[in-house]
């Protein structure tokens, strides 16, 4: 008899997911501008895989397919993974990664709301461990490439792995700044020499910094729409900036400046779209600060001392494990209680 409240003003889960996707649009546009239209193929492939695997799993688990497909969460996972992968990754890599994200990381744990790990990052990490070479082969920004692949060429490359006749792989790929930095530093080159390379832009990577700026823009939109709160991005970016700043101050010859760490790699994508996944993140305000700062510090450490050029995926997964602990120890003071 008592079903109050009778009214509600909540946005639906679907509308939240759609807003997240809308917030990714500027970054996708920047991507197309910098690397060409191939990313659209990647996005389409990932989306298709996500919907098919999600529907299949829901059917297997005897859950309402339509209700959960329309919540949009699978598409968000697909897009985030697609944007994290190298833009010209082969089709099967995209399909495999998305399938792992949806089937293993999400549905096996119980579907929407029940995954302890960020599905996109699980998919990404699985691919990175299994296919390190493919996962670190990034196309050069069109502006820097010796040979500029058109949309059709890119599509053919994704599906068949064949480049137009007479074009070598080297002509269309290049190292990412974080990767290049790591290898060059081991060759005892100084940072000043290394950053002379054209792949370094004003703040981060040439081209990549534009995409990063677009993520930042989309993220600000999400904050304004109250889809995410400031806690996670601010703590994460601050942690990276402080870590990079301290190391840079200690030895500017060996450690890149904070700007590169903020605008290079997956920092901005991570700050506003990856660590803000509510399901696998903490819920308390203080918990969010700890979680995000922890990921920031760990990302930096992996970048500088780890075996991989970027450390976002592993840092996120590690801190996903810590979420129950973080939540338990950061419960806010309840009204009328001392602490």
């Amino acid at each position: 008899m008592n079903r109050s409240p009778y009214i509600s003003e909540a946005p639906s889960v679907t509308s939240i997911m759609l807003k997240v996707m809308l917030a990714l649009v500027p970054a996708i546009a920047a991507y197309v501008w910098v690397y060409g239209g191939g990313i659209l193929v990647t996005l389409a492939l990932a989306s298709l895989t996500a919907i098919v695997t999600e529907a299949l799993m829901l059917k297997l688990r005897d859950r309402p397919v339509r209700l959960f497909i329309t919540d949009g969460s699978a598409l968000v996972t697909a897009w985030l993974l697609a944007l994290a992968l190298p833009p010209l990754a082969p089709w099967w890599l995209i399909v495999l990664g998305t399938a792992i994200a949806i089937v293993v990381a999400k549905q096996i744990y119980g579907g929407l709301g029940n995954n302890p790990f960020n599905p996109a990052m699980v998919g990404y990490a699985a691919l990175l461990i299994s296919f390190p070479a493919l996962m670190t082969t990034w196309p050069a920004p069109l502006a820097l490439a010796e040979f500029e692949l058109g949309f059709v060429d890119q599509m053919l490359f994704i599906f068949s792995g064949n480049l137009p006749a007479g074009v070598a792989l080297d002509a269309v790929t290049s190292a990412t700044p974080l990767d290049y930095l790591k290898t060059q530093l081991t060759l005892n080159h100084s940072l000043q020499e290394i950053t002379q390379s054209p792949i370094f832009g004003t703040l981060g990577a040439t081209g990549g910094e534009l995409v990063a700026a677009a993520y930042l823009l989309g993220g600000l939109y999400l904050i304004q729409q109250r889809i995410i709160t400031w806690h996670l991005p601010v703590a994460f970016l601050a942690a990276i900036a402080i870590m990079a700043g301290l190391f840079y101050l200690a030895d500017a010859g060996r450690f890149a400046d904070p700007a590169l760490h903020l605008f290079g790699g997956a920092t901005m994508l991570c700050a506003f779209f990856i660590i803000t996944d509510p399901v696998s993140g903490p819920t308390t305000p203080r918990g969010k600060l700890i979680f995000a700062a922890g990921i920031g510090i760990m990302t930096y450490v992996i970048r500088v001392y780890g075996g991989y050029p970027d450390g976002v995926a592993f840092a996120v997964i590690f801190f996903n494990i810590c979420v129950p602990l973080i939540d338990a120890y950061t419960q806010p003071r309840v009204f009328g209680h001392d602490k």
Binding site: M1, I7, S8, E9, G113, P332
Partner: protein, 566 residues
Amino acid sequence: MNAIVNLSELIKRKLGKTGLSSFNGGVHPPQHKLESTTSPIRPVPPPARLVLPLRQHVGNVSKLQVATGDHVLKGQLLARADGQVSAAVHAPTSGTIAAIDNQLIPHPSGLPDISITLEADGRDEWIARQPLDYKAMSKQELLDSLREAGVVGLGGATFPSHIKLREDARHPVRTLIINGAECEPYISCDDMLMRERAAEIVRGIEIMRYLLDAGRCVIGIEDNKPQAAAAMRAAAADSEVAIDVAEVPTIYPGGGAKQLIKVITGLEVPSGRLPSEIGVQCFNVATAYSVHRLVHHGEPVISRIVTVTGHVGHAGNYEVPLGMSIRELVELAGGKAIPELIMGGPMMGFNLPSADVPVVKATNCIIVPDSAMFPEPPPALPCIRCTRCADACPANLQPQELYWFSKSQNLDKAREYKIFDCIECGCCTYVCPSNIPLVQYYRFAKSEIIAQDRAREAADIARERNEFRLKRIEREKQERAQKHAQKAAGAKTEAAPADDAKKAAIAAAIERAKAQKAEMTPKNTEAVSPVVAAEIAEIETRRAEVQAASTTEARTEEKQSTEEAK
């Protein structure tokens, strides 16, 4: 942009420019108050038949003073308050007692309760009304008259007011807060009362202030009621005592007693404690009005203002005799007495079990919904831990965790995460994108916990009794053996040590009973809904009975043993 606005609001408040504090969260549901505030309060003549439940308040059922067939006058006492936590019931018009039996009452349980049915004689003839010269009488006499006049909190909690108006040397009340916030959408009975009868309310406040000897007195009104605030301000200016009017921000549930106290004084009522313990007491404006009616006109509480709104011809406020059928009231307002009637607001109200239930002291609003007003929510999705609920929670709880614990029946965890601090305001459900009926989960968990506690207590008592019984049997055996031995030895002076052991056992039992009583943690009765509060009160009474029974048993044992000793 929103964030910047919020931030500047926050800074302004922190800097104390408004002099007001704030609480976490809250929501801004559409007000829908205009529908019922365009016309003045309409008086409702007494209907032919009235049903008056004996329990219209928190506490003991009042004691019947009339019998079937008796003729009573308007304002005559029908049922006397039983003990301190109780309130009297009076006849809203003159007529004959037609029946005293169980009738359906406006309660979500849909269970009937003992009620008096009064057939009106149409003369509406008053008893002799005697205004009180309250300054000439003792405060205790004044409090007793309040109790005998059935004055209870009319904001919805219906807690007997005389208890809250008693001076307590340990906790002197420094601030008296009069609650005119009325934060629930649709409801406007307090708003209209303040607009039209501000002076009378102030007269009532003066008496309350006199009783409590409160230093400061503030009337809290949400800033969406400028006319009420202006009227109250003007009336307060005419008073001989200093009464402030504070226009508090319109935010639901800013009218909750603890929230309003926080906003006005900056103080938080500690969990499980009463406002008086931090030197604050809070009453609804309509309660102040009833105090005035009693003291200055000699009239007990026999009517109240009820908002009738929604899908009705004449939405507005009605001064309704208590006991009038809600069906009649709705039809009088030009609406249909459909089965989906809601008593209270859309945030905390409930569906009436039937339209054929009486208006009681807690009836502040009746909403007649049409099909579009309160649609069934879409199917619930899993929680995505977005924490919109936590951001909206005025008690600063973590609703998403409480949901998880309630759903998995992890009741100890739910208690650890302070589920009893939940005031069931509904903000969490209101903002949940997964459409989860969170409050219903909490109601369920709370009742489960209460039931569990009750069962555990009963088991403890049973165990204790059994232990006592075994001890007694053992002792009797020993005594018999001793007697035999004494007989055998021919000595009769050795009974003393056994006697001491007996006394020690009795003392230990009494100590245990006392310790158990002391261990009982005070329940958070202030924050819970009237329904839960009633339930808790019921449990407390039963608990007291059980306690009394066990001490009586101990005493009987003692008696028996002394008799035996003789």
